[in-house]
């Protein structure tokens, strides 16, 4: 259909404030969730540096360990860890929204999808820790 309303009176357009994400708790958690991307990137960077260190002999390794023990680094990494954790939790709890699985016409409840996700997460984490610590 065509809407013939061409002439509109002067309507009032509002602009979003730059700080809109502070207006509601749910917006803030959204922005925090999105901000986790910075720390995901950061973690990859750390990993790359570490790979470089490991493959470049004792002095590189020593420098790397020194660096990681620096209070500033520790501070940043605590924050990074919290963000990465937050990313993981929101990711798993949102998966069932995007993935609808039906069994015999009944929608599988959310926990039945995110539950196994969390379980796998714990298993994988323990597995990795075991591999690393075993040596």
């Amino acid at each position: 259909m065509i809407n013939p309303t061409e002439y509109l009176p002067k309507s009032y357009h509002r602009r979003m404030s730059t700080y809109w994400w502070l207006a509601r708790w749910s917006y803030l958690t959204f922005i925090l969730r999105e901000a986790s991307s910075v720390f995901v990137g950061w973690t990859v960077l750390l990993t790359l540096v570490q790979i470089w260190a490991v493959t470049h002999g004792p002095s590189a390794n020593a420098a790397f360990h020194e660096w990681m023990r620096h209070p500033l680094m520790l501070g940043v990494n605590v924050v990074a860890f919290l963000f990465v954790l937050f990313h993981a939790v929101t990711w798993f709890s949102l998966t069932p929204k995007a993935m609808v699985i039906r069994v015999k016409g009944q929608r599988v409840p959310d926990w039945a999808i995110s539950g196994p996700n969390y379980a796998a997460w714990v298993m994988v984490s323990l597995g990795i820790a075991w591999v690393v610590l075993r040596g």
Partner: protein
């Protein structure tokens, strides 16, 4: 319970005002009164120029969306007593241009709705005297998304729409998905053409606030994410399968 409550209503008259202001009114606080009853009381007895939309008073026509204390609500389904002792702040739905007082311009949504092609598309129609069988399970696939009353609370809640009015928005996409999932429909690829773009499904950042405010439990956020999954799968198929096979 106090017997009266103060309502602060945003007022804007384009013929007179440069920007919206606020008027305060005192109305009786009755147990069974919803915000809409308060507004009607003001209009009937205090100030006949107060302007807002309403019709069914039973949460199904979708006319009376507004911000109540900053949250998008249906005025006819929001009890005053939940806000006692007040004051209650009533404003026009966020993210839409204000026409007057609590009335916003929603024509943008109607344009977007039409772009979602919310009707059954088929290559071949059955003769009119035959029905398409659809089991309750198939009905269940899309039923939730067919419950949308176009109240637009989800648009008022979605910051992405507020930032970029080009974004198709939650309800329009959920309704496209409603038809995609209908076993009688064959129009999914046509709809994908108009919705698989940065202003369509890919614009949604999964804020999820749309679902939280939806009075009919439509879950547009879920609809959009599921749509993305389908669209991505379609894209993969198109990449993997030889041209034209599809």
């Amino acid at each position: 319970m106090a017997s009266r409550i103060t309502i602060e209503v945003a007022r804007y008259n384009p013929a007179r005002d440069h920007e919206p202001g606020v008027s305060s009114y005192e109305v009786p606080l009755r147990k069974e009164w919803v915000v809409l009853d308060a507004l009607n009381c003001i209009k009937d007895h205090l100030d006949g120029s107060l302007t807002f939309r309403w019709s069914c008073r039973m949460g199904v026509c979708g006319s009376c969306g507004m911000m109540v204390n900053g949250v998008p609500k249906l005025a006819c389904a929001t009890f005053l007593s939940d806000y006692a002792p007040g004051p209650v702040r009533v404003e026009p739905m966020r993210h839409f241009p204000i026409l007057r007082d609590l009335v916003v311009d929603t024509s943008d949504f109607l344009m977007k709705l039409a772009r979602s092609k919310p009707w059954i598309i088929r290559k071949m129609e059955k003769p009119m005297d035959q029905e398409y069988f659809q089991t309750p399970a198939q009905l269940e696939e899309y039923r939730q998304f067919s419950m949308c009353i176009n109240c637009l609370l989800c648009y008022a809640a979605c910051p992405i729409y507020g930032l970029d009015s080009q974004f198709a928005g939650p309800a329009a996409i959920a309704l496209a998905q409603r038809y995609n999932l209908d076993s009688r429909d064959e129009g999914a690829s046509e709809r994908l053409d108009s919705l698989s773009n940065p202003e369509g499904i890919w614009g949604c950042m999964f804020v999820g606030e749309c679902t939280r405010v939806c009075p009919k439990h439509v879950d547009p956020a879920g609809a959009i994410q599921q749509y993305k999954l389908t669209a991505a799968t379609e894209w993969l198929k198109a990449m993997v399968l030889p041209r034209g096979a599809k």
